[in-house]
Symmetry: C2
Subunit: 195 residues, 2 copies
């Protein structure tokens, strides 16, 4: 968890790759909330076309993945959705970036079907994780500590289940990096129902 010195240091930079067929609600929940928390969110397409998301919304990423391969990021966050998550899994550049960031102890996060891209990068063996039910092969899950919790944090790996957990996923990332007070500051004005 973040300490005050880290928090004051610099604006955190987040890479959100946007594949064709990504789940727009997950993508936008992440970019919206991390932006509200004061992070610099960089959306990067896998190609130079506008992204048609899984339920039809068309998004224009800020840049493309090839242009940010040499940039430093504090977090990489993968939205789910199909076929979006398959494209993330099959993208050589995304796989390279995931491995590079994990090796440098940066936060690697994925929601819904996107943990499969982390599995392909070899980042989930022995880890506590979750994902959209059925989106990982049983043979892969055997090597993981798989749960049905909404959000699972294991060191620098953060995973979550689907559109209905995207808000908790984003708030967990905010709390992990910027502390509980910042999480509360972002969460309160969302007007979530009080349970």
């Amino acid at each position: 968890m973040a300490n005050t010195a880290d928090i004051a240091k610099k604006q955190l930079k987040v890479l959100v790759p946007l594949a064709q067929g990504c789940e727009e609600l997950e993508a936008v929940t992440v970019t919206d909330l991390l932006t509200r928390a004061g992070m610099q969110v960089v959306t990067a397409g896998l190609d130079s076309n506008p992204v048609t998301a899984s339920r039809g919304m068309v998004l224009i990423p800020q840049t493309t993945i090839d242009k940010v391969m040499d940039d430093d990021f504090d977090l990489i966050v993968l939205p789910g959705g199909l076929p979006g998550a398959d494209y993330l899994q099959n993208s050589e550049q995304v796989q390279t970036k995931l491995k590079q960031m994990a090796a440098n102890n940066k936060t690697v996060a994925a929601i819904c079907a996107a943990p499969k891209a982390l599995a392909s990068a070899g980042l989930l063996d022995g880890k506590a994780i979750t994902s959209y039910p059925g989106s990982l092969d049983d043979s892969e899950i055997n090597n993981m500590n798989y749960s049905n919790n909404s959000v699972v944090v294991d060191g620098n790996i953060v995973t979550s289940r689907g559109p209905g957990t995207a808000m908790d996923f984003a708030l967990t990332l905010i709390e992990k990096h910027l502390g509980k007070d910042k999480r509360n500051e972002v969460e309160a004005p969302l007007m979530r129902p009080i349970n």
Copy 2:
């Protein structure tokens, strides 16, 4: 509430005006979930430019509001966010469409700051409603039955509070038009936490 005959009849058509500075999480939650429910969602910009939403995501609407003024819709749903909601309030075309649809007993829905556009169209007097706290003038609220519930349905007027209530807002619209079974069918795969 919908009966079986209505449900079978035809695909429901939904107009979602997208103003510059709309809240992207609210816009996308509505378009995503109503699309999942099988409705035909038409996103319409107030101008012909891509829409830069309130937290930076850039969306491309399918059409512009001037091109759909003569089209029939079953629902109109206004996302909130600022300055987006102000643009909706000040758009002559949006105001015309709101009045036209309300007069024809179509569903008129707004979330967050967007109920102010309904107030300007004269649709909220004497109605049970909610909105983002502080987004309506006190003098306006005096004529309404204002509550802090997450989603409020009063006849054909449906209102809600903010990004954290957008999912319940969309699911309520689905249930109102397509019934509880369809709502459940859309809600289950979202993987919302079980309280």
